[in-house]
Symmetry: C2
Subunit: 134 residues, 2 copies
DNA sequence: CGGAATCCCATCCGATACTG
DNA sequence: CAGTATCGGATGGGATTCCG
């Protein structure tokens, strides 16, 4: 069963029986990974746990506020584990949970597609924009 | 090369040489598919072109405003083709472009993961929330 | 039918300041 | 060090109205 057939079939199923797009797994996962920092933070934790400030250095643009918020949300969803070491000053280490490890595989597929095709996308954009200018 | 190694390596590369997260392909694609309607609309077009109002029926909650906006954006990115038939009243048909067809494969992987694991996510959330209540 | 225009609210997110 | 609290601008997105 190829991807087309599968997706078309699943979509048809979701539509049936009072389709609630907020409950749909598609949106459930896309809402999570679609935000500004989640994926970059997850990637920074691949293969190595990191402390709060180490993540902030690895993902240069993220503010403390958004880093805290995104980490909390990831922890809530069972994607990362937060461990506090009661040293002085305190240090906190974040580790990918098995759930997130499982996510890496399909995520890698998506990112491969992104790298392979973002040139095509930008070309399409330029063409569309110059056509629209007329 | 497994997904972990690949992702860690790519992430390390992106970090080097004035990493601009807005330019990074990761964000480029996630910004696109992470919004509220894009993926659902793409799925509604798998295997069959549809007209504007047919898409709206297929994706029940979308407003005309957001449908128009999302379709424009998809067209701009070369993901769909818009064809106008000058009938009266006019009819407009939308078709998946090859770029979007290519995207279906990695997207299907992600959605499979979502369906397989959203129960685990909800369980983690319940546990986190009850723990936080104390 | 397939939009475009306008209004408006909700939230996202960054900047800044403060804290145990 | 690893946060929390607060503010305010930008953006997302729904509802409604109008149009060729």
């Amino acid at each position: 069963m190829n991807a087309h057939t599968l997706l078309a079939a699943r979509f048809a199923e979701w539509q049936q029986a009072e389709f609630d797009s907020n409950l749909c797994p598609v949106r459930d996962v896309l809402d999570q990974i679609g935000d500004k920092w989640t994926v970059l933070i997850l990637l920074s934790l691949v293969g190595q746990p990191r402390r709060f400030s180490a993540i902030q250095r690895a993902v240069p643009d993220v503010s403390k506020r958004m880093l805290t918020q995104t980490l909390r949300n990831l922890e809530r969803n069972g994607m990362i584990v937060r461990e506090v070491y009661p040293t002085k000053p305190p240090s906190v280490e974040y580790t990918l949970a098995p759930l997130a490890e499982d996510l890496l595989e399909p995520l890698a597929g998506l990112l491969r597609w992104a790298e392979a095709n973002h040139a095509r996308i930008h070309a399409a954009r330029r063409q569309f924009d110059t056509a629209a200018a007329a």
